[in-house]
Symmetry: C2
Subunit: 499 residues, 2 copies
Amino acid sequence: MTTEASYADLVSRLKRAHVLGTVNGLLGWDEQVNLPPDSADLRGEQLAVMAELHHAAASDPRIGELLTLLEGRREELTADQQVVVRVGRRDYDRLVKLPPEFVREKARHTSQAFHAWAACKPKADFAGFAPFVEKHIELAKREAAYLGFAAAPYDYLVDRHDPGLTAAVIARLFDELKAGLVPFMRAVVASPVKARREVLRGFPVEKQRAFLRMVTEQLGFNYRRGRIDVSLHPFCEGSGADVRMTTRFNEDEPLSSLFGSIHETGHGLYEQGTRLGDQGTPLGQSVGMGMHESQSRLWENQVARGRPFWRFFERRFRRTFSRQLRDVSSDDLYLAVNAVAPTLIRVEADEVTYNLHIILRFELEKRLLAGTLAVADLPAAWNALAQELLGLTPPSDKEGVLQDVHWSGGMFGYFPSYCLGNMIAAQLWYRVLADLPGLEEDFARGDFSRLLGWLRNQVHEQGRRYGTLELVQRVTGEPLSPQPLLRYLRERYGPLYQV
Amino acid sequence: MTTEASYADLVSRLKRAHVLGTVNGLLGWDEQVNLPPDSADLRGEQLAVMAELHHAAASDPRIGELLTLLEGRREELTADQQVVVRVGRRDYDRLVKLPPEFVREKARHTSQAFHAWAACKPKADFAGFAPFVEKHIELAKREAAYLGFAAAPYDYLVDRHDPGLTAAVIARLFDELKAGLVPFMRAVVASPVKARREVLRGFPVEKQRAFLRMVTEQLGFNYRRGRIDVSLHPFCEGSGADVRMTTRFNEDEPLSSLFGSIHETGHGLYEQGTRLGDQGTPLGQSVGMGMHESQSRLWENQVARGRPFWRFFERRFRRTFSRQLRDVSSDDLYLAVNAVAPTLIRVEADEVTYNLHIILRFELEKRLLAGTLAVADLPAAWNALAQELLGLTPPSDKEGVLQDVHWSGGMFGYFPSYCLGNMIAAQLWYRVLADLPGLEEDFARGDFSRLLGWLRNQVHEQGRRYGTLELVQRVTGEPLSPQPLLRYLRERYGPLYQV
């Protein structure tokens, strides 16, 4: 078999697995958006059969043979082909090195742990949930060991979400961020300037829907290859040819749907920007969670919380909601868009305090996986950190250690991506401002195409050619640092809150 | 392996294939309801991979072995298990007796023929479409030959849709129906009484949606295991645990959405009535197309075009659309519900003339498959029959032989099911009226539960235990006959049109 034919065979098998993955994705989307309430059992059967078929296709032994063959003929491959073989090997090994019994055990435990969490959270019953976390930590360590990370399980978990990162690198970045962020956050909170989001009330859902459709389309989301629907928890699903976002509406929280949708649009633009012809191979996939979050955050925060964005959209917003905004001044509206208020609940946090929620979780995960924090001591450790970082102590574990779903899924190493995404977004932001003079004047005219073109070229079309840190270095010319994020927060919130 | 274990193994393999079939069904539903316009290529890839996996699961050689084993131990099986083995064998043989190259050739030709039809219809270019019909006839004959029906291909095609039926049986039923129907239809058309549907105008879509949701729920459709959405062509998809109907709206055709939705509700109630625990086996499936259509037609026509139904719903209809119905009398409304007007277009036909459209297509298909009518002579034969049966001649082939999509898909033998469904509906109707005294008084109180319970018990829960004719005989105590349909049409339309 020629090298060319072997490579074509590899790609066709990767694409086949990818297509099955997109079917699973659609089943998941439909479950959140459309599934009738009593049809969940059937959906469970569908997902189970499809997961099995997807796993079989992705761990097809012929893929392993082709990878070995092509690794032996590296010099005959183009640079792009080398990326596919190198990253394809990593994906393949991660799949086949986990024994099927282990995968089943983890899936079973994840389902049980989710139900335990859902039952314990309303009762603030951490003791009832603790054994499930302990088991998840044990499973995570075993998983890391299968992949050769027995000595550093948290590094494995971090790398799985953000290729190339380690716990030590993140700790250094987060410490530097924390040092700058905690005093700044305290100053903003102490400011006499207060945003009043509660003045925004009674925004009819249908008008919100039309407005955010207009905004997201203007930003560049292609509705000929995507849609937006309603679900309980907003998300973005799909890649390339069919990208589906969701949002939720509250008549008294219009900015919540709007910014949530712009956030998902950032994810959606990344997926729509991956190369269509390379779907299913590492050349047509996103780098990782942190880079993905950088795209959603850049559009949500750097772009849509800025004055130029509102210079264009305020008039349209007021036209759509003239009655609701009659007594709201431009300054009040802009302050509401940039409200800062520490809260115990991560998903309700503003962009200044949000990162502190992540640092808290990272510090706890790191110690849990290193074995220096016992699960039984988790609530006390959580509460101490919440007081230290946010200046707040949860009244119960419901508003504390039990608030997030992630640990019930064993998703350790996922949280840091949120904060890494914020850092990357700010670092990309100052780079693109330097690369494209007058960029924000485009926004004031409703033109976001130069920004999108730059992101397409610099990030979206790169696929998984580079790891997270390497791509940041290549695009911005600097290693990843929290300083651009600190600078951005100071520049945006300093003048607004007079600190 | 014990008989019990073998049977359990068979059922689990049938269910696995079924679950994959439901995934394909969902992909098809999503394509009609949600798919973004430029995402069709990806959907094509998804459907192709899934069709292949579904075919592999359903034609799993182990299913054939288990069937053979269980056929040899018939006396150890319960009556239910014997049904599964007997019908399972028929399904399995139909799958594995078709060579894969044939299946691929037919799929390829079907796709090409569809595009040819879509291109030729607007131009009324039958000559351009004719070679595709010829090829489909050849494929249909080859398919029949693979299944042992070389001498009677149309019998094979008919039996595929309605198990147990033959072209000769249908011809006898249709001739008898035609003899009674044509003179009655002519009398109705000649009546001075005329329905005026055009008085129903400007019914807002959102109110139509709410009204038909209320009606279909009242009839018994379970929205906890189903939904209704909008698509270009109405259909009903799914079975058992997740049944999805669609409709379409026109502000000036409120009865079209309403009756279309009630029709799909009839299909949906059948699917929701199949036994949940037997999904994927012949015990949890519908008998065939004719029986399915009997359910949709019974709810649409016998129930929802009747006075008792309107005695309950007219007040609610007027409450929802008070302005639109201000000048419409009860008699006018009821006449609009039961409008009769011959048309050249099958999908626009009323229930009196509809059957004549089907008889026309059946007579042509029978001759085409018998080789006594050449494809080139089809338009002339069509036009002659249209004049004979409907008293109308198509101005062009667009309104004649090219109007339906079915033949572009090689779906010969499908049309008769529509008319068989009407016959079966009427025959079931007189049986249930005799079995459940005072049934229509229930309807006038908005109670349809006794009817639904009877249909569940007599039809839905029977699965594929009996063929179409056998089930009709068992339920009604009479062989299938067109006389109940003729009686029903005379009783409904005779007094209304004073004939």
